[in-house]
């Protein structure tokens, strides 16, 4: 069930599937995506990042509404996706083979 984003960010709704609450799942989605898909998400979300940060700053971390949480998770995904798009031009970091490095503990939001 895709998360609904705050109405100010309706233009990002086609990418709401990137509103993923855990780092491992964000990473798995990146690795399973094509560069075209990653680029499309980046091109849509990166220019709206400052708007999103300003929007999210009106809340403290303890009382983020659900749609704001979704927006935060979507921008966590943008962090994950920025590496291949900005530098490597491939979904996995170069020279990492099949190695994995998994989050076993992370903040709830």
């Amino acid at each position: 069930m895709p998360t609904t984003l705050p109405s100010d960010f309706a233009d990002l709704e086609p990418f709401a599937e990137w509103a993923i609450p855990t780092e491992k799942a964000r990473y798995d989605k990146r690795v399973a995506s094509t560069m075209d898909e990653l680029q499309a998400f980046y091109d849509a979300a990166f220019p709206r990042m400052e708007d999103a940060l300003v929007y999210l700053e009106q809340y403290s971390m303890d009382d983020l509404p659900n749609d704001a949480k979704g927006l935060l998770w979507l921008y966590c995904s943008l962090v994950t996706v920025s590496f291949p798009v900005e530098v490597w031009r491939q979904p996995r970091v170069p020279d990492s083979g099949a190695s994995s490095f998994d989050a076993v503990l992370e903040p709830a939001v």
């Binding site: 780092e23 190695s99 992370e106």
Partner: protein
């Protein structure tokens, strides 16, 4: 000409003459027999960090920890006397693992009033005393006070919980941490409660990963593709020089410059780093904790960025200028495999902007670690291969590697000398 001053002897390595400067053998990283000796001489006898006090927020909070290197599982608990205690995770009745959930081999944590064995409901207090035996009358003169949990020495340094499996150990943890540990006392580790922890199974000897993180000589090369290309070229040209190295007893540290938090010129970093004001060196705007402990930035250099402490045998603490902390643990599982844990600690973010700046630092660390871990397997397989190449030169920026391997071998020879003496004394 070095960019940063070296000791009068001309090099960091020669400043510590016991380390030598000759090529070194990596036989200590490819031999099952040598690993068995390390298990006894090192992991069975030194203080090992198993967690932090924040993992035990109240009386009855506990966590279990699997420690392959000493072939055991332990449970660490905040006792009813508000002390942190550690026990072997074994029921005194018939040896069942006492604390586990669903999968006996997996670590777990929680809160309880007492420990109850899943098998026959024997119970133990948080102090480890046996308090209940099911159908006690069926046993033969059983005195419950003889069947408490097997305790392990457990002490704390700056909120880090350590255990020592050697019952004859008489060195208090604080003494063991030495001058380098003392120099960090007072750092507000307890304020950094926002935790991201990662874990990887790595196909390499545990010391090889410490090697990788105890030198930054590799950073401009192995991680070249992580930076914007102009910056990457410059980094490669300049190479890497530390601000300072210090060695004290079995421990060591390297102090490094930190030009990227913030960078001199925004074009040096990626677009998302410019926006989030964060990257490998952490969020550019960290909390101000006032005066820092004297052990940080020993060269008192204005370009200081991060200090990496290698506490023997398997615990590293990195303290970054913007006041966040990264710890590394290397838990051997065989002579050529280990579990690597990397944990990032930040002050809790006040808002989503700070949260995302922290995410940027954490994920950057992850991407670097993926490259490091994979490269180690390439090193391990070749060290083990049938090759005439048996010794390897270590440069001055690799002085902590020399120190690690010399120290690990010294622990083994001391252990062997003591073991040889024991029968005569017995």
């Amino acid at each position: 000409m070095p960019h940063f001053a070296k000791p009068a002897e001309g090099s960091w390595t020669e400043h510590y003459p016991e380390l030598g400067t000759e090529d070194v053998s990596y036989h200590d990283s490819i031999s099952p027999e040598h690993y068995e000796l390390e298990q006894q001489a090192i992991f069975g006898r030194t203080w090992l960090n198993v967690g932090r006090i924040e993992q035990l927020p109240k009386v009855g909070s506990y966590f279990s920890k699997e420690i392959d290197a000493v072939d055991t599982s332990i449970v660490v608990v905040r006792s009813s006397k508000d002390e942190v205690r550690a026990f072997h995770n074994i029921c005194r009745h018939r040896g069942n693992k006492l604390v586990w959930q669903d999968y006996p081999g997996e670590e777990t944590s929680g809160t309880c009033r007492q420990f109850t064995c899943k098998y026959h409901a024997w119970r133990y207090s948080l102090e480890g005393e046996c308090t209940f035996v099911q159908q006690e009358q069926e046993f033969f003169n059983l005195d419950k006070s003889d069947y408490g949990l097997a305790g392990i020495q457990c002490e704390m340094w700056e909120g880090f919980i350590f255990v020592n499996f050697d019952p004859t150990n008489t060195t208090p943890l604080r003494d063991y941490m030495g001058e380098l540990g003392k120099g960090l006392e007072g750092y507000p580790f307890g304020e950094l409660t926002q935790v991201h922890k990662y874990r990887a199974e790595v196909g390499a000897n545990w010391k090889l990963f410490i090697d990788a993180f105890a030198e930054f000589y590799h950073a401009p090369i192995l991680h070249a593709k992580q930076s914007v290309s102009e910056e990457s070229r410059k980094l490669m040209e300049v190479g890497y020089e530390a601000l300072a190295y210090e060695i004290d007893g079995p421990h060591g540290m390297v102090s490094s410059w930190g030009g990227m938090a913030p960078p001199k010129d925004l074009d040096m970093v990626k677009p998302i780093e410019q926006k989030l004001r964060s990257g490998l060196f952490g969020p550019w705007e960290g909390p101000d904790f006032g005066e820092m402990p004297p052990g940080l930035n020993p060269a008192r250099h204005k370009a200081w960025g991060v200090d990496s402490f290698v506490f023997f045998p398997n615990f590293m603490v990195l303290i970054w200028k913007p006041n966040w902390v990264l710890t590394y643990h290397y838990w051997p599982t065989s002579y050529n495999t280990h579990i690597f844990e990397g944990t990032c600690y930040f002050v809790p973010p006040k808002n989503a902007r700070e949260r995302l700046a922290q995410e940027m630092a954490v994920v950057t660390f992850k991407e670097y670690a993926l490259q490091d871990g994979n490269t180690l397997e390439a090193t391990q397989t070749m060290l083990e291969s049938n090759t005439p190449v048996k010794t390897f030169p270590l440069g001055d920026q690799e002085v902590l590697l020399r120190q690690l391997h010399v120290t690990a071998r010294r622990y083994i020879s001391e252990f062997q000398q003591q073991s040889a003496k024991t029968p005569a004394n017995a």
